[in-house]
Amino acid sequence: MPGLVPGIQGNEHGSLRFVESEQRTLAFVALDCRHKAGNDGVKGKAGKNEQNRRAKKVMTRPIRKLPAEEAWREAFAGFSVPALAWMQPRKAEAFARFEKLGLPTPRTENWRWSEIHRHLNAPYPPLTRPEAVDEAAQPALMENHLLAAADASVLVFVNGVFSEAHSQLMEEEGVEILPLSAAPVAPDWADLAPADDDAFDLLNLAYATDGALIRVRAGVEASIPLLVLNISTGEGHSVHLRHFVRVEAGASFTLYEAQLGSGDHVANVSTRAIVEEGAALTRVQVNQKDESTIHFGRLGADVHAHARLHDTALLTGGRYHRQNTYVDFAGEHAEIVTNSAYLLRNRQHADTRLRVNHAKAHCTSRETFKCVMDDHARGTFQGLIHVAPGADGTDGRMGAHGLLLDEAAEFDSKPELMIYHDDVACAHGSTVGALDEQQLFYLRARGVPERRAQAMLVAAFVAEVFDDIADERVREALTAYAERWLAGEGAA
């Protein structure tokens, strides 16, 4: 017997658990594709048959299993990470679940704009041993990225393995940082469970080779941020890293994550964060990979009472970046900010699925997405604010804005509100368009060259996303990048 409300299981008022099926499919937008070819009405028999053929085709198109999926299904039998032997039962469990679930299809609603059938059309078996790191290239890679300006401890993972030589950890009282592979047993404070309905998170756990474990003790306001460099290189394989961060009651912490590397491969990085009562976590993520890599990123966060999560992302690298951000409020009066900027060119594609679950009363959420697409780039966004029954005083605002710079660029957005309670103030806005002609004219009339004027307007468009970053050097590095980006200087 299905529940009254789809997406909700259980019936007890106030204790509803939000279960979103990643596999939910949708036919609502089907009309759009059917009319693309134009339809000039029934003209004789040919027209009629043409229509029927199209209608039938929509119904019966079979879904093919992707080479990537096949490789991931087969690889587990011979896969083991000696350092993570204690994780093996969990890995097996996650893999069994993945075997049942399979990858999303083009008809899976949450992946409708992801084109993974194009991107994952080759096998990317998991990597177990680190490949030889090109010593000459690595220092440049590690120093010339946007988060290099941060004054932070550094944890480096190269092709899925912790690199002690490149890492640099500064000691701080009350802050524990160690690689997953260095933990002799499962730490009881770390929750490594995967999201049951996310195929890539299940794969991530099954094939994880390492990751960062971070614990900030109650009441400690950490002064040294941590910079995690997820570097992956090479062709035709996949790398899986699993990070965990717990910020205990009243503590605060800053985490920077840089996705770096090059080559036609898949990187799958999942970060799980628990922000306890009154704690604060700031996270800044930058993807600066070259335009041949595929990246799957996930942030799963529980934000407890009076806690604060501030998440910022700049997606400007990679061939394809899929970001899954799932935030659950686990206590009242908590607050989250999730901001993202896309700066995409050529054939790049960035794709975000964001879900903020207002399960508790008096929580505030702000989501701002500023997406700039040039050339043939595609930016897509599916955001959802979900308000559970009983979540009094919910305040949620979501904005998704696209800026298209060229003829073939594309922006698709679906900012969704699902509200099961009345005492709320929720809003969303979404716009898409080109640069404002008047603003361009204004700048041109004052002698600013056209390309420069465009670059200024692009930087102004995304500036809002970085505004709240507390570390001035990081904020300035990101803002400066946005200004340079259009001129092409920004390319890594």
């Binding site: 609502f28 969704e416 509100l417 509200i419 898409v432």
Partner: protein, 488 residues
């Protein structure tokens, strides 16, 4: 003055006042659906061979299709399509020549509903008001169409579609299914196979239809599905305003209504389509009520054409309906104004699709959703701008109002832009009924229920103003009725 009127209206509130049933003899086809039933319907309607073929093709497509349970935000017990009557008609010996020959009980029904079938009674009491031509559909057949002669003089064809199939086969053949093909979706396929009646409108080149056209739909029989098909064609430079109203008796079981509406606007043509949908919504526990699964789509084929949808959705247990516009002609315009009110156990999943294909096409969407009781109200919309739609412009505003803590309001907009030469704007808000406004009215001695109706009427004003004058007053009353029992 307006306040006095509203207060009076609120006092007049009755539960569902259209819930009565008319006892007349009807002729029914046997229960269930198979090719023989379709042949029977087709034979009953004296249809030509091509029409039967068209229906059978639709039926064959339908059999391969799955019912779309998954994506809309509605839940219902599976419908047994073999447990329904697909044809029910008031029994009569031959075709009525004038209104006098129609069963007086049917006329009475329409009078009770406030639909004046007798021409001289049109809008009694409103002197000088424009005349409205009415086509009344009772269960499966059209019982009367008024003002036909006057319309014919202007060159406008307004008749039941069953008649049009015989009298104007070329027109029907050319346009039927050209906007919503038989295999478009599950319910459209079902409708294409078994539709029994509906309205047909053809406005020739350069003609401005001299009066509002209106169809009134009524489901009377038990266990009957109503499948009407409306086809409106406005040729170059023409204009028509069309109204549609619906009611059904109160019954414990669910009734199925699966309509298809196709609008075609040629060059410089304009169509204004207004709906007040007040099917029986079921009782407080969600027993009974109409399942309203409707496919409505307009094709702005010609340059500078315009289609405007206005809908007021207060009835039905479940509404599943997305009046859409395909903006193919350059400079064509699509508009969608909607008020969707849900109370008790009602479920609404409604919205629109605006597909921009031509240059400088414009669309505007204003949607106001009000949910009360334990109802679920979803706006689901698509704005799609194709690569060649340079200069396309869209503005969307979706506001939701929540009354009570057990209801839900959801907004699911899809925005797809494939060209930088377009501008798409979407904004949505959701909030509960403002405490301070409620307090202000209560402090002035206005009972809570009336105060809510007043506030809601203010909330939806923008859309109500788009309705033809005849529907405005009715709509304001309807809002009061629909929200009855939602507070306290």
């Amino acid at each position: 003055m307006a306040d006095q009127e509203t207060i009076q209206q609120v006092e007049e509130l009755k539960k569902y006042k259209y819930g009565f049933e008319t006892e007349i003899e009807t002729e029914k086809a046997p229960k269930g659906l198979n090719e023989d039933i379709i042949r029977f319907i087709s034979a009953r309607k004296n249809e030509p061979e091509w029409m039967l073929e068209w229906r059978l093709e639709a039926y064959r497509l339908w059999k391969q299709m799955e019912e779309p349970h998954h994506w809309a935000n509605v839940e219902y017990e599976p419908i047994d399509y073999q447990d329904l009557y697909y044809y029910a008609a008031p029994k009569q010996q031959k075709k009525p020549k004038s209104l006098d020959e129609i069963d007086p009980r049917i006329l009475e029904t329409y009078e009770k509903l406030g639909i004046p079938l007798k021409e001289q009674m049109v809008l009694a009491g409103v002197e000088g008001a424009p005349k409205v031509a009415v086509d009344a559909v009772f269960d499966s057949v059209s019982v009367a169409t008024t003002f036909r002669e006057e319309l014919e003089k202007a060159g406008v064809i307004f008749c039941p579609i069953s008649e049009a199939i015989q009298k104007y086969p070329d027109l029907v053949r050319k346009y039927l299914g050209s906007v919503v093909p038989q295999g478009d979706n599950f319910f459209a396929a079902l409708n294409s196979a078994v539709f029994t009646d509906g309205s047909f409108v053809y406005v020739p080149k350069g003609v401005r239809c001299p009066m509002e056209l209106s169809t009134y739909f009524r489901i009377n029989e038990k266990k009957t599905g109503q499948f009407e098909r409306t086809l409106i064609i406005v040729d170059e430079g023409g204009y028509v305003s069309y109204l549609e109203g619906c009611t059904a008796p109160m019954r414990d079981e669910h009734q199925l209504h699966a309509a298809v509406v196709e609008l075609i606007a040629e060059k410089d043509a304009e169509i204004k389509y207004s709906t007040v949908q007040n099917w029986y919504p079921g009782d407080e526990e969600g027993r009974g009520g109409v399942y309203n699964f409707v496919t409505k789509r307009a094709d702005c084929r010609g340059d500078n054409s315009k289609v405007s949808w206005t809908q007021v959705e207060t009835g039905s247990a479940i509404t599943w309906k997305y009046p859409s516009c395909l903006l193919r002609g350059d400079n064509s315009v699509g508009e969608f104004y909607s008020i969707a009110i849900s109370n008790n156990a009602q479920q609404v999943d409604s919205g629109t699709k605006m597909v921009h294909l031509g240059r400088n096409t414009k669309s505007r969407i204003i949607s106001k959703g009000i949910s009360a009781g334990k109802s679920q109200n979803t706006y689901r919309g698509l704005v799609s701008v194709h690569r060649k739609a340079h200069g396309a412009r869209n503005f969307t505003q979706c506001d939701s109002l929540l009354i009570g803590e057990k209801c839900g309001a959801h907004t699911v907009p899809y925005i797809q832009a494939k060209t930088p030469h377009a501008k798409v704007e979407h904004e949505a808000t959701t909030s509960k009924i403002a405490e301070d406004q409620l307090f202000y009215l209560r402090a002035r001695g206005i009972p809570e229920e009336e105060a809510v109706a007043l506030i809601v009427n203010g909330f939806v004003r923008e859309v109500i103003q788009k309705l033809p004058m005849e529907f405005m007053a009715e709509t304001q009353k309807l809002i009061g009725i629909s929200l009855e029992g939602s507070v306290g």
